[in-house]
């Protein structure tokens, strides 16, 4: 937010630097309109989805499909979806995979980033190179698939976690932050007799809370949004995560199993069901990301200039 920099002291409340021309009223207004339009382009579709998911069959029929202006809120779609059955299962699978996967990824990443962050430690160069090299080549889809199959991971939740558990880029971001945390603190802790585990846990990690929050979000969003691994490694429909089920319900227009009756009797619009599944998929992301938002910049930049 250094747009404010350059403001002369004593010009309190004046955000524009003194040498800059005052914008015209018309210019300012048109810029405002454009900004609002851009933001609406993002928010409007989400609004429609949320409103339709909360609408009754009657409202949806009157609107001729998607609903823009809400009339009479009902949670029937969510009640049906979360009252047991396919979507409830898929939501639970997604939540579990996301929580377990994120914890696993973060533990391994933080340990690895710290292990590689102490300059001058033995083997730190070759280990780092082993990691960096994987950023330049991808092994390819087919051999990766064969390896996962060969390890016997197909049709197990591990196939949703292990192959994509690590993001080298994220580890580099963490490492860069760990290296920039006060070396004097670490040295003095070491002199006081603290081991590496203790230094990491009690000094480095508390000092790196911001970046840890960002990377946790990145990993969590990765797991929550993933559908491809499930689509090739999982054949049991009961094990599919939410994204895959949403794909079936909305893009392939399939009816959710167990809900056909409610829909056929006209109590529930299939459209509301589809929209409700979409809301389920977008809620956690939309709720969590604003909290971490203010740290994005540091996270992105440290990663962009990798060493």
């Amino acid at each position: 937010m250094t747009g404010v920099a350059g403001v002369k002291p004593g010009t309190r409340g004046r955000l524009r630097p003194v040498w800059e021309e005052e914008p015209t009223k018309a210019g300012l207004a048109s810029k405002g309109v454009v900004l609002v339009l851009i933001c609406l382009a993002v928010l409007f579709p989400l609004w429609v989805v949320v409103v339709t998911s909360l609408s009754s069959v009657k409202t949806i029929t009157e609107a001729g499909g998607l609903v823009v202006i809400p009339r009479g809120v009902t949670f029937i779609a969510y009640q049906e979806l979360l009252g047991g059955g396919q979507v409830t299962r898929a939501t639970l699978v997604s939540i579990c995979v996301t929580v377990v996967g994120t914890l696993f990824s973060m533990t391994v990443s933080i340990m690895c980033a710290y292990g590689l962050s102490r300059p001058g430690s033995v083997l730190h160069r070759p280990l780092l190179l082993t990691m960096l090299a994987t950023m330049f080549f991808g092994a390819g889809l087919i051999p990766t698939y064969l390896v996962v199959q060969g390890l016997g991971l197909t049709d197990s939740y591990l196939a949703l976690i292990l192959p994509s558990a690590l993001n080298v880029f994220n580890i580099l971001v963490l490492r860069a932050f760990f290296m920039s945390t006060a070396q004097e603190l670490i040295e003095s802790a070491r002199i006081d007799g603290a081991g590496d585990v203790r230094i990491l846990w009690q000094i480095v990690m508390p000092l790196s809370r911001a970046v840890i929050a960002v990377i946790t979000l990145f990993y969590a969003v990765g797991y929550w949004s993933a559908w491809f691994n499930a689509s090739i490694y999982i054949s049991d429909p009961k094990m599919l995560p939410l994204q895959n089920v949403m794909n079936q319900l909305v893009l392939k227009q399939e009816r959710p199993t167990g809900l056909a009756q409610v829909i056929n009797t006209g109590h529930l619009s299939p459209l509301a069901i589809q929209m409700a599944v979409m809301v389920l998929a977008l809620i956690p992301v939309a709720v969590l990301s604003p909290f971490v938002q203010k740290h994005f910049k540091e996270g992105m930049l440290t990663g962009a200039v990798k060493g």
């Binding site: 404010v4 021309e21 051999p143 690590l166 080298v168 990491l200």
Partner: protein
């Protein structure tokens, strides 16, 4: 022109804060006198800590690299219970699959689609974050900027399934626009199943999802420009457009170069998941790219060896593209992905 070179020199002198993280590394302290045995003992916790990650990378990045040998085999998954066993027992065929690939019309069509989509992304998607960043940067109120950024970052965190579903509901045959058009007596339309517009649809979806996110890097670059440069050029009589031309744009140059290099390096990897989700709607003729071709031939039809061969060719050309693009960046006097 003189202003811009001065600007660049000034920026070099006051290193941007962004690079701080890496420059603090410091050279390793003198360790020459401590015997390796002792150093191993001293650092054993550190090494142990990295092992789980290294192990994962070995299994899921390096072993598959070796697994690419199936491209030189006639891999038969049913020859043994286990994929590893099957690789050991499958017969070798040399470069047969690669020869077949050169004569494969579908392969060339997929390559053509890939390159077309890449060019569309380069021309239509790439400039958008830069323009957006300049636009947001022109607002002086921190509150306005923060709210705009919060909204624009959001779609980046949505899954492709969700993004495409949202587009389906807006632009699909039963979507909101078609619905509104029909209400007013027009014919409905369906953007989602039109093969002719498919490549533009992809780019459009990408802009909606990621343009806002791309803004971050450019905003940071803009924030690190010294305000004195603006002030000095304003003193010299430069109006706001000339200041943008001589101060702001030169400041963005290194970031733009870096991102261009990355983009060109990824030229053969265009929106795999995004396209995979939509290919049935428009048919493979318009939508098949190298990645989806590998997926289709390999995973759907079990042609593992041929698909692996396509994957290898794609990988090699991708690597060459990164190195080449980086070389060009160096020649242009920019830093690129890695230093010389």
């Amino acid at each position: 022109m003189s202003l811009s070179t001065e600007g660049r020199r000034a920026r070099k002198a006051s290193a941007p804060p962004a690079e701080k993280g890496t420059t603090v590394t410091g050279e390793p302290p003198v360790t020459g006198k401590v015997p390796l045995r002792h150093r191993l003992r001293r650092d054993r916790t550190l090494i142990l800590m990295t092992l789980p990650a290294i192990l994962l990378l070995l299994v899921f990045a390096y072993v598959p690299l070796v697994g690419n040998v199936v491209a030189f085999q006639d891999y038969d998954p049913y020859i043994a219970d286990n994929a590893f066993q099957a690789i050991l027992n499958s017969p070798w065929v040399g470069f047969e699959w690669f020869e077949q690939m050169v004569n494969d019309r579908l392969f060339w069509s997929a390559l053509g689609n890939t390159l077309t989509i890449f060019l569309l992304q380069l021309t239509l998607f790439f400039p958008v974050p830069i323009l957006l960043a300049l636009f947001i940067n022109s607002f002086v109120r921190p509150r306005v900027r923060a709210v705009a950024q919060a909204i624009l970052y959001l779609p980046h965190f949505f899954s492709w399934v969700l993004v495409i579903t949202v587009f389906q509901q807006m632009f699909g045959g039963a979507g909101l626009i078609a619905q509104t058009l029909r209400e007013h007596g027009h014919e409905g339309f369906d953007l989602m199943t039109d093969p002719g517009l498919f490549k533009f649809l992809l780019t459009f979806e990408m802009i909606w999802k990621d343009a806002g996110w791309g803004v971050i890097v450019f905003l940071a670059a803009l924030a690190s420009v010294s305000p004195e440069l603006y002030e000095a050029s304003a003193m010299d009589g430069a109006n706001r457009w000339r200041r943008m031309w001589h101060v702001t744009l030169p400041a963005l140059r290194p970031v733009v170069a870096l991102l261009l290099v990355l983009q060109v390096g990824n030229a053969l990897t265009v929106g795999f998941e995004q396209i995979l989700l939509q290919r049935t709607a428009v048919g493979p003729g318009a939508s098949e790219v190298l990645d989806t071709y590998v997926w289709n031939v390999g995973i759907t039809y079990g042609g593992f060896s041929y698909a692996a061969a396509v994957g290898i060719v794609k990988g090699i050309f991708g690597l060459l593209l990164v190195l080449g693009a980086n070389k060009v960046a160096h020649l242009m006097g920019e830093q690129g992905v890695y230093k010389k």
